[in-house]
Structures are given as structure tokens and as C-alpha cells.
Amino acid sequence: MPDFIASALERAPTANPDWLDDLQAAGRQTWAASAMPTRKTEAWKYTSLARLERGAYLQPPAPATPTPANLKQHFSIEGLDAATLVFVNGSFNPDLSSDALPDGIEMVRFAEANESQAEAIRAKLGQVVDGRQHLFAALNDAWLADGLFLRVRRNTRVDTPVHCVFLTTAQDQPFSLSARLLVVLEDSSEATIIEHFCSDDLPQNAFTNSVTELVLGANAKLQHYRLQREQEQAVHIGGVHASLGRDSTLNSFHLGMGSTLKRVDVVVNHHGEGAHCDLSGVYLPRHQQHVDYHTCIEHAVPRCTTTETFRGIIADEARAVFNGRIHIHPNAQKTVAELSNRNLLTSTRAQVDTKPELEIYADDVQCAHGATVARLDEQAMNYLQSRGIGTRQAEVMLSFGFINELVERLPDEAMVEFLRPQLASLFGRQSLVTGRPE
């Protein structure tokens, strides 16, 4: 197997704006000086990158061909009145995208930024994510050519969600692409942003390396969704890195479905006092999928709060990894942070590895975490059965309920309506106990 680090550097980025040169060079340097993680690398203890290294993904996507018809069905969210921005295999697709964005929000592609926009982008880009700690963010920098910048102006509330779609389609050769999103909410602004990674139904040979940076100014409020619904063969390594200003609120929901190998790092930095983060997510790997969510909440300042809930149902021969770290820095007094991670294994060959970590250097804090791995609650099963509900149906109801609890509390009704049947169909597919189709 050729050395992945070296091969990745050989893949030259496509033309990029000059003002990104330094960031790109720094990314290349960090990447070149790094080694591929192994099982001994703590952050990758349970996730092997062999599938990525074997896959020869390092070619860029084939040049743009006419957009296949009917791509819209793969990402449209019925009933959601959103402004949509669509990237197909890494390239912006104006035909599929909305013509206009709602008032108060500015959208710029890096490749098209004018001087003042470039300046605004450079002021924040790469500031939230630490490439030395997140190897693949360094690779994203190294390949940096284009990206999406969204800015919500001060004191503006944008009611229309912005739906950012990153879609891959099957190609003849394996390929890799970078996705980069920078969202800046200026002071006292509010917005809803949906990141949506999806693909057409054909077996994919794409490796997506995504980095998202969210910068929330004082008192800003962001409702954020990140939906990962890629085809089974896809590989995705991505990160969401947020910086929260004083009294700001980040609500972030994550859905992990699809992909043969998926690793998502969610890093939230509480930078201003009084910030609040509500992080939740569900992961539903099946077949031989591998999903790995690494979350890290940095409480660097006093009086911030975090509630974090992730749940997973792991089927077949799939494997899930969850690592939830909460780090309370020495001066972060009056922090309130809670983390809960619950897992259901539904097959004898499914696996889960979970590690909720607390690292606390301040004394006046309230922190708690809990993790469980279990089967469906037997009492609840019995109760349903005693009401005449069949075993199979009871399993589906309870599994669905386990996940649905997190989905139901999402604020956008259209999103709930969109997710619910997908989850239901996932559970309706086979017996959770025997693994056999019904």
C-alpha cells in the first residue's frame, strides 16, 4: 500500500484564489509532517483507516459532466421552505441551487470572493479548527480550492433555513473531494443552517473530506443540522468546529446514516461567558458500516452550559464508536455540562465502543455523564406484548422510539417529517433480534 500521506500531497489542488495560498501551504506542511493514525493513536483507537488507504481515492472528481437528471430527489426536504445551495462532486451547481438567498444572509463562494469578502473570509477561516489536532482538517486546507462562506448580519434574524447540499454521484474512478463551509453569525443574529451530505443511489467510490467552521458572535443563535445520508460505499471524514461568543446559543443535531466509513469530529469552543450548546445526534450504522463520532466541548470561560445527547442503534456487523469529551478549563467556574450516550446493539455481530470523558480543572461546576449499552428494555417489550402487539412490531416501535425522542424535539417540523419515515423504514427492514428479513 502506498503511503497515504505522501500520495495525498501529490494530488495537486485545482486552481485556487491567491489569498488562500498561505493557508493551503500551511495545511500541506502540517499534513506532510504527520503520520497516519494507527490503533495506538488515542483519537483513532477504534477506527481503522485501512478502508480509506486501500481505496485509492486520491484522484480529483472527473471534470463536470452534464448534471444527471433527478438529483433533486436525493436531497430535497419536502415542506421545508429553505434556500438551497448545491455542490455536486465538489462543484457548485447553480441549476440545482436557489436563485436568491433570504435577506440578511450573505453567500460567497471562496473562488468568487471580492477583496473585502476575501478579507472577511481569511479573518475567520481556519481560526476555529486546529489542523495540528485534526489531521484531516490539515488535509482539507492542503487541498483548499473553493468553499462556501455564509454571513448573517448583526441584529438580523433569518427565518428561512439555508440548506447546503454536498452531493456525490458515482463515477468510473474512485475520487476524493473537499467540502469547506464557513458560517459567521454576527452579534445578535439568528439563523438555521442545514449541512446535508448525500449521494445518488449507485455504489459510490467517493471520499469526502469536509470541514465546517461555525463562528457565533455575542448573543447569536444558530440552529444547525448536519445530515449524513451518503450511499453505503462512501467514505466520509469530516469535522464541525464551532466557536461560541458571549451568551450565544448553538443547537446542533447530527444524523449519521450510510457510508462504509464515517468519522465526524464535532468540536465546540465556549469562548464567551454565558454561551449555551445543545448537541444531539443519532447514528444508525448497519451492514458492515463503521461510524465514529468524536465530540469535544471546550469550556474555556465561566458560566457556559452544554447538554449533549447521542444515541445509536447498531445493526448487523456494523460498528459504532462514540467519544464524548467535555473539558472544563481552570477558570470555567459555574459550568453546567451533561453528556448522555446510549446505544442499542441489535445483532450478535454488531459492536460499539463508547468513551464519555470528563476532564475538569475547575471546582465550582456541575458535570455529569452517562453511557449505556443495552438491548431494548424488556419491561417495555413485555408491556407492548401484553397489549397484543407482536414481538417484531414491538421491537420496531421501541427502537424507533429510542431514536425518535431526539428527532421529535427538533424545532423545524419539516425536518422532523423528513427524518421520521427514513428512520422508520430503517427499523422496519429486518428483525432486530434474528437479523432476518421479515
Partner: protein, 478 residues
């Protein structure tokens, strides 16, 4: 409160005196000759020397682990003396009457009388001073019950087949860096064998004492509980106050055969270093037990001493229905650092494990819980419950939790909960308003916090542990 707290955490280490005794001490450094010397001193069989040398060779290939949440300067393994024994007993203990009076008074001062007639409530003691066992009490009484309780050096001569069958069977020579080092140079330790169906008639206990400067202590304990037997064992440790850091790298192996029960309790009070963080013991210990069918292994530890602790008493739940338990109180005051926890490896069906960990951080102390719960594919119906709580006293300390939870069996149930709290101003004020002084208030709160663990200790030691904690916390609050 912080002012009050600051005043309460400071108190002299009571076991910090030095015994003035002539010792046989090897010059510092480690090579095959040193290993051969130790083996020769013990008059060991050839296979044992080979076993040790194999460990030494492995150790040389290994690298010092740095994953724990502790920081300390590199250890110079060539500056340590690997063997030290009081001259008078370097040939191993004879009768209790032959013990050097200085030694005897050392144990008296520590509250561990070696005269059988003075023993409290029938606890048999093996006293290990630096590298060798100096006395084992009640041997004859135990012998009547068929229980073998002696130093491991003696066991190699008295019952070599049992030693050979089990030594390294739970913690192989190459298990980890410090276990490999221990396997090469261990000089003494306790050995216990409980025959089939026997319930050991008294508590067994080993008392470890480091005395000599610039020495390391590498004891090795092996407890074999044969089918259907039961034993409760307690170890205690102290060391003089010295400015240098001293290494303690022990290995403890427990074998609980079918239906056997082993309860292993530790009250660890090695010298923790002074209030500036100078000196103290590095306590890097490997402890592990294998539980066969229906067997139960229970670890209880109260860790108040040592400058740095890395220790994970673990259970391999090999047999169906076997049970593993871990109850821990770990206190880090001043500049102490503790990274401790357990591993529960569930292999058999319907195996059960319970982990209750209470970490207390005060001063500049750092306390980490690190635990692994692993459900292997065969662990059908297995269960684990983990509760780890941290108590913070003062705002300069740290409390961390690193639980690793791995499940490969869908019918296994794992529950993990962790909380963090502090001794608050309000709690202290309420207690003081009811007439309690701050020290009493804090010790009540801390003891309440540790209650679930203390009640697992053998009765005689539970009170001791509470007091020890109180002393170790003095200066923490005031």
C-alpha cells in the same frame, strides 16, 4: 471557603520516619547479573532465573508508557538499586523471635505488631521490608487449615508446582513495561494458597515498607484460591519521607478457581511527597485477577499516598457467572497525581461487574478515573454497572474521567454514570451553623462521599481508612 480549605489540607505524613538498620543493598543499575544475583539470593530454581531473564529481555524492548494523565520527569532506571534487605534477615525470616528489634519497633510504630499474641482480631501479617519478607505471623495456625501463607521466595521452595503453574498466568512477563520490570527483578512478596473448599480462618494481610534510599520496591503477590475456597486479604504500605522519588512497581496476580471468592483490599499510604510536590513514591502497579466459573473477585482500594499512582486492579471474568467488583477511593492532595481505575473483561456468560469509584481532588492534586469495560462476543447476558464520582476541594485541582466501554455482545448491558461535585460553602456553613467545626464537617462530607466503598473494607480497616483519609485531607479545608 477557599481560605478555610487551604488551611485544612496540610498535615505531616505520620509514617515518614526512617529505620536505622544495616542493609544489604545492591549498587544501582540493572543488567542480567543483577537479575542473577537476586535469583541467587533467593536460591531460586533454574527455571525461575530463566523466567526472569526472559522478562528482562522483553523489558529492554519495551518503551515506558506515557498515556496516563500524569506528568513526571523521566525515570533513570540505572539510578535505582534493585535489591535491598535488612542484613539480619537477608536469609529470609526464621522465627518471629529472630526479628531485629529495630525492625520490630518499626512495625510497632506503624501499628503493625508482629507478636502474635498482640494481634488484633486474628489477622495474619506478612511484613515486607524493602526487598524481603521479614516476618509472617500465624503461619502454623493457618497451616492447620491447609492455608499456605508465606513469602513468595519461600513458596518457590515449599510448593514450587503451584507457583510455577500460576506465576505469570494472569499477568504475563510482557504484559506491560512495569510488569516486565517487576518480573525480572521482583525480590519478594506474599504468596497465598487456599485449598479446595476451605474458607480461610482469618484475614490475611501484607504490610509493605520501603525504607532504604534510592531503592525500588518490586514485590510480587500471588493468591490462588482453589475451587470453592474463600479468602480476604489486605495490604498496607508506607515509606519514609525522602526528597527523591522512589519507584514501587508491584505485580499482584489473583486466581479464583471455580466457585472461589477472593476479596483483596488495599490501604495505600506510600509517602505522597511534601506540600510542594517534592519527593514521594511512584506507585506503578499491575493488579489483575482471573475469575473462573461462578468465582468472585473483589478489589477494594483506598489510595491516599504516593506522589504518582498508575494502577488498574482488573478482573478477567473468564468463567460463566463469575463476578468482578472494584471499589475505590483515591485521594490526591497537594501535588499528588493519580490515574487509577479498573478493567473488567467479560468473557463468560452472565458475568457481572460493578465499579464504584470515588475520586477526591484537593490542593493541586489531579485525579483521573480510567476504566475499561469490555464485553466480548461470548459474554451473553453479562452486565456491568459503573458509577464514578469526583469530589473537588479547592479550585486548583483537577478531576477527570476516562471510561472505555466496548461491547461486542448485544445481550450485554452496560451502564456508566459519572458525576462531579464539590464541597460547597453552603454545606460547610450548614454544618458549622449546627456546631460542627470545619474539619469535622469536611471529614463527614468526605466520608459520606466514600461510604459505598468503605463498607466493602474488612471491618477493622474501614475505621482505619476513614481516619487515614481525614489525616490525608488535613490542610485541605480549615
Amino acid at each position: 471557603m477557599s481560605e478555610q480549605i487551604d488551611r485544612l489540607i496540610k498535615k505531616e505524613y505520620a509514617a515518614g520516619f526512617i529505620t536505622d538498620i544495616v542493609s544489604d543493598t545492591l549498587p544501582p543499575g540493572l543488567d542480567e547479573d543483577v537479575v542473577a544475583f537476586i535469583s541467587g539470593k533467593k536460591n531460586e530454581p533454574e527455571w525461575m532465573l530463566e523466567w526472569r531473564l526472559k522478562a528482562l529481555r522483553s523489558w529492554r524492548e519495551m518503551v515506558e508508557p506515557h498515556w496516563a494523565h500524569v506528568t513526571y520527569p523521566d525515570i533513570d532506571f540505572d539510578a535505582i538499586s534493585y535489591y535491598s534487605a535488612p542484613k539480619s534477615s537477608s536469609d529470609g525470616p526464621k522465627s518471629l523471635d529472630d526479628i531485629d528489634p529495630e525492625l520490630r519497633s518499626t512495625y510497632d510504630k506503624l501499628g503493625i505488631p508482629l507478636h502474635e499474641q498482640e494481634m488484633l482480631s486474628g489477622v495474619a501479617v506478612d511484613a515486607v521490608f524493602d526487598s524481603v519478607s521479614v516476618a509472617t505471623t500465624f503461619r502454623h495456625k493457618l497451616k492447620e487449615a491447609g492455608v499456605i501463607f508465606c513469602s513468595i521466595s519461600e513458596a518457590m521452595h515449599e510448593c514450587p508446582e503451584i507457583v510455577r503453574a500460576h506465576l505469570g498466568s494472569v499477568v504475563p512477563q510482557k504484559d506491560n513495561y512495569y510488569a516486565a520490570l517487576n518480573s525480572a527483578v521482583f525480590s519478594d512478596g506474599s504468596f497465598v494458597y487456599i485449598p479446595k473448599g476451605v474458607k480461610c480462618p482469618m484475614e490475611l494481610s501484607t504490610y509493605f515498607r520501603i525504607n532504604e534510599a534510592k531503592t525500588g520496591q518490586f514485590e510480587r503477590t500471588l493468591i490462588v484460591a482453589d475451587e470453592g475456597s474463600e479468602v480476604s486479604y489486605l495490604e498496607g504500605c508506607t515509606a519514609p519521607m525522602r526528597d527523591e522519588n522512589q519507584l514501587h512497581a508491584a505485580v499482584v496476580e489473583l486466581v479464583a478457581l471455580d466457585n472461589a471468592k477472593i476479596k483483596y483490599s488495599t490501604v495505600q499510604n506510600w509517602y505522597p511527597g511534601d506540600s510542594e510536590g517534592k519527593g514521594g513514591i511512584y506507585n506503578f502497579v499491575t493488579k489483575r485477577g482471573v475469575a473462573h466459573t461462578n468465582a468472585r473477585i473483589s478489589w477494594t482500594q483506598v489510595e491516599t499516598g504516593s506522589a504518582i499512582t498508575m494502577k488498574y486492579p482488573s478482573c478477567v471474568l473468564k468463567g460463566d457467572n463469575s463476578v468482578g467488583e472494584f471499589y475505590s477511593v483515591a485521594l490526591s492532595n497537594n501535588y499528588q497525581q493519580a490515574d487509577t481505575g479498573t478493567k473488567m473483561i467479560h468473557l463468560g456468560k452472565n458475568t457481572r461487574s460493578t465499579i464504584i469509584s470515588k475520586g477526591i481532588s484537593a490542593g493541586h492534586g489531579s485525579n483521573s478515573y480510567r476504566g475499561l469495560v469490555r464485553m466480548n462476543p461470548g459474554a451473553t447476558g453479562a452486565r456491568n454497572y459503573t458509577q464514578c464520582d469526583s469530589l473537588l476541594i479547592g479550585d486548583q485541582c483537577g478531576a477527570h474521567t476516562f471510561p472505555y466501554i466496548e461491547s461486542k455482545n448485544p445481550s450485554a448491558v452496560i451502564e456508566h454514570e459519572a458525576t462531579t461535585s464539590k464541597v460547597s460553602d453552603e454545606q460547610l456553613f450548614l454544618c458549622q451553623q449546627r456546631g460542627l467545626d470545619a474539619e469535622k464537617a469536611v471529614s463527614m462530607i468526605v466520608n459520606g462521599f466514600c461510604k459505598e466503598v468503605f463498607r466493602e473494607l474488612p471491618m477493622e480497616f474501614a475505621v482505619e481508612a476513614g481516619k487515614l483519609l481525614e489525616v490525608s485531607l488535613e490542610g485541605a479545608v480549615g
